[in-house]
């Protein structure tokens, strides 16, 4: 598979504990196996939970990129949490960007204690569509809960990303890396999560979990 833009800049963003780093590693490993240069820059603080976590994944056929995407140069945002997707749009967004976002909020501490407001789902969707070329919102946490655990939302979203052909990888490329990465007892469930994420785009019944800006995929 080839890159329609070099480097291709992807940001995976979310909150500590959502499996952001794992998602970027799976994609990165699959891409290196296909002879791409991959640079992943990870921004996170100390081990405490609750802080924003952002991975910059930069894919090139030509060179090893720097670990940080320049301002306004993200091509795709994979948001494991909706306001985190909006947050990274600030520095990295542009009118051509494609956004794939999980619908389930994780409220910041200032919101849970009643000191700050979290925008409602309708506002988030309208802002995401306004500020992007294409936006997809997936009920990935709900889907993951149907598989038994919310942590699988990251793998589901990686599946959706692959189904959208947003990265130069096939489902089999990812499945191969998942087989190398997970122990036997967690393998099946992760492969199912990947399939579920693919189906949200590929199958009519899967699309019940999806909102999107245009019918054209």
């Amino acid at each position: 598979m080839f890159l329609n833009k070099d480097p291709l800049n992807l940001i995976i963003t979310g909150v500590g504990g959502q499996g952001n780093v794992l998602a970027s590693q799976l994609l990165g490993n699959a891409l290196v196996a296909k002879d791409f240069f991959v640079t992943i820059g990870e921004t996170y603080g100390a081990s405490q939970r609750g802080g924003p976590v952002m991975s910059h994944l930069r894919i090139s056929k030509k060179a090893q990129c720097s670990p940080l995407i320049p301002q306004g140069k993200a091509d795709i945002i994979l948001g494991l949490e909706p306001v985190e997707a909006l947050r990274v749009m600030g520095n990295y967004g542009n009118p051509h960007i494609v956004i794939v976002v999980n619908s389930r909020p994780i409220y910041p501490l200032d919101v849970t204690v009643g000191n700050a407001k979290y925008p409602n789902a309708q506002i988030i969707w309208s802002l995401l569509t306004e500020l992007s070329h294409k936006a997809y919102m997936l009920d990935a946490t709900d889907m993951a809960l149907r598989l038994g655990t919310p942590i699988l939302a990251n793998i589901i979203m990686v599946g959706t990303l692959v189904a959208l052909e947003a990265v130069p990888l096939t489902q089999e490329d990812l499945a191969g890396i998942i087989r190398e990465t997970f122990p036997a007892n967690k393998l099946e469930i992760n492969l199912r999560a990947l399939q579920m994420g693919m189906d949200a785009i590929k199958k009519p019944e899967g699309r019940n979990n999806l909102r999107r800006t245009s019918l054209a995929l």
Binding site: Y44, A46, G51, P67, G72, L86, M89, T112, E130
Partner: protein, 637 residues
């Protein structure tokens, strides 16, 4: 199977910078690795510990960085190759021995990896550790990619062995905590037999002779660096501007040149061996361009040192003075980490090249949206964290005491004691162990009329690292304060590494437990041990200790919540009785959400009452004691 001992020479894999450094050490045949964990360096020794058994090497978590360097140093003296790794603050701790090790010399190759943290993502400063290489006459490498992180570590160990001196490798967060392509080399199969040659001791005396010898070693390093493939020029033969850069600056500069389309006008002189500088190489390259700019993190290290070389060259080569741009000229920021945009900005200022990263209307709108709709996401203690309970007890005991008492903070998760999640209790911050060191001093101010109670906090790992001498000092000098040891049975903040109190070593092997309580008792100080989840008991003990003379230790002992969740089920199921929670009418002013700030309790703005978030709550039950109306209910799970 770990990636770092993958026996597949020639294969290209994705590796974290820290893993690449560890892999380079393995390819050079290190047999000993020692460190105290410190973000962003921890995964270097951590990943080596994971493969210790299969690779037949020894790996330890030492109690501090100076000890780690000493452990690695002794391996070198016995002829083995060794590595130690630390964050920039750790280098300060290790530096006393480091500047002796340079005098005594070494035998087996030894590399000291220091991972700086520009922009201070998880540090108390953004110190540029390269200055230590210059002060200590230590050869220094700065990797600009993941491949170089591996290759330079391997080469640094070989150079160290050849020159018989310790060598430094300096990384930064954006190398350590980033990932990229690394092509693997061979893993050596042979092990060396350690032997200390008693006929060749390691003394620093006679100092002047050893100092002179060190300068000879440095001169040899410089000769190697003059032809090193880690240095080189890329770009037009005679550029309008030549950028001299190292480390992460290399990739940022390359991208900045591409983004601004300046490939035909700007060249890059990449320096990977940044001390001692290859003077002849730099002298030759300086003749290419009239204008020179420096791109580096954090201090103007290359900038100052190249200018020094340049001053000599003006006479030697009879070239015209160059025009230099960088931190001193204000083109590159003096603080904070770099990125491509900062280099683009400097290029625009020097060459007048226009550059718009994106549509201006979009930019304005997207920032407006951020300001209006995106709430800040601050760090807080985890649900069920024992530190929240410990600090709650301290807060309330200080309030009861009512003499304007305060807390001296320390380094660890509980550094959040300075924030709202730690009730803004900590009024000082310092180095590892400084909380207790400062308390020592405050406690001696009474003869001048100082009467505020002082509480220091430190974690269990920090206790062993640096707080223990402070406690000894306090007892010896009859100071007066309460030291709270927040013992959560791990080094939580850096990723749950073991320490002497845990009973496991770095390689996961069981060992003796060094008991903090027994150590404190042996000093003759008053010691109490308490479960922080008993808030009422904690407050009573502390209020009483504030009234007593001398040095008092309160060990607040509870396993880290994240570790506890791995092998224990939540003890309670928590809910809020909507009849008893009367919201704003209560007069408690939302104490459970606004003040206690456990993410497991939410203020429901719709019904104006608190409620439990069952997904977040881990059922520790501590919050049931803080509601004045008894509305938070716990039931055995």
């Amino acid at each position: 199977m770990s990636i770092i001992n993958l026996d597949a020479p020639g294969r290209t894999v994705l590796m974290m910078g820290n893993e690449a450094i560890a892999r380079g050490a393995l390819e050079a045949g290190i047999q000993v690795a020692a460190a105290y964990p410190g973000t962003p360096s921890s995964e270097i020794i951590g990943s080596l510990a994971e493969v210790a058994e299969s690779m037949g090497i020894y790996v330890e978590w030492s109690v501090n960085e100076k000890l780690a360097l000493e452990v690695a140093g002794s391996a070198s003296m016995a002829g083995l190759r060794s590595i130690t790794a630390m964050k920039q603050n750790g280098l300060n701790v290790a530096s006393d021995y480091l500047f002796t090790l340079t005098m005594t010399g070494v035998k087996g190759g030894i590399v000291l990896v220091v991972c700086d943290d520009p922009s201070s993502h998880s540090s108390s400063n953004e110190q540029d550790s390269r200055a230590f290489a210059r002060i200590g006459d230590i050869p220094l490498f700065e990797p600009s990619s993941f491949q170089e992180a591996k290759d330079m570590t391997q080469y640094a160990l070989e150079l160290s062995e050849e020159l018989k001196t310790v060598v430094m490798l300096r990384g930064v967060t954006r190398i350590s905590h980033a990932r990229g392509n690394v092509t693997l080399g061979n893993l050596p199969k042979l092990k060396r037999q350690p032997k200390f040659d008693t006929a060749s001791p390691f003394h620093y005396a006679p100092v002047l002779q050893k100092h002179s010898l060190l300068h000879d070693k440095l001169a040899k390093a410089k000769e190697h660096f003059e032809t090193s493939s880690f240095n080189g020029y890329e770009g037009p033969d005679c550029p309008d501007l030549m950028i001299i850069t190292s480390g992460t600056g290399v990739a940022y500069t390359r991208e900045a040149i591409t983004l601004t389309g300046l490939e035909d006008r700007v060249g890059i002189l990449k320096i990977g061996t940044t001390w001692p500088l290859p003077e002849r190489l730099i002298g030759r390259q300086l003749t290419r361009a009239q204008k020179v700019m420096f791109v580096e993190e954090v201090d103007p290290f290359l900038e100052s040192n190249v200018k020094e070389i340049s001053a000599d060259l003006i006479f030697a080569l009879e070239i015209a003075p160059r025009i230099f741009y960088g931190k001193r000229s204000g083109h590159i920021p003096m603080v904070g980490e770099l990125n491509t945009d900062r280099v683009v900005d400097a290029l625009q200022k020097v060459l007048g090249t226009p550059y718009d990263p994106r549509d201006a209307t979009y930019s304005k709108r997207v920032w407006e949206v951020n300001k209006e709709f995106v709430p800040e996401r601050v760090l807080g203690f985890c649900p069920g964290c024992p530190h929240r309970a410990s600090l709650w007890a301290i807060k309330n005991a200080l309030k009861i005491d009512d003499r304007d008492g305060f807390l001296t903070g320390d380094i660890g998760c509980y550094a959040l004691a300075r924030t709202a999640s730690g009730f803004s209790l900590a009024k000082t911050a310092g180095a590892m162990g400084s909380g207790t060191g400062l308390a020592c001093g405050f406690g001696k101010l009474r003869q001048f009329g100082f009467d505020q109670p002082v509480v220091s906090v430190c974690g269990d790992s920090t206790f062993f690292h640096a707080a223990m001498p402070a406690l000894v000092n306090a007892q010896y000098n009859r100071s007066n304060f309460v030291m709270c040891i927040l013992d959560n049975n791990t080094t939580a903040m850096t990723g749950f590494q073991s320490h002497p109190g845990v009973g496991l070593n770095a390689m996961g092997l069981p060992g003796p437990v060094v008991d903090i309580e027994s150590i404190c008792r042996s000093l003759g100080v008053k010691v109490e041990v308490h479960d922080p989840f008993d808030l009422k008991g904690g407050i009573e003990i502390l209020a009483r200790l504030f009234q007593e003379e001398g040095v008092k230790v309160l060990i607040l002992k509870r396993k880290c919540a994240l570790l506890r969740l791995k092998d224990e089920n939540p003890p309670y199921k928590i809910h809020i009785d909507p009849e008893k929670c009367i919201g704003e009418e209560c007069g408690c002013n939302r104490i459970c959400t606004r003040v206690f700030r456990c993410p497991g309790i939410i203020w429901d703005t719709e019904v104006q009452k608190s409620k439990v978030d069952e997904v977040i709550c881990v059922g520790c039950g501590v919050c049931t004691d803080i509601c004045p109306n008894g509305a938070i209910i716990k039931e055995e799970a």
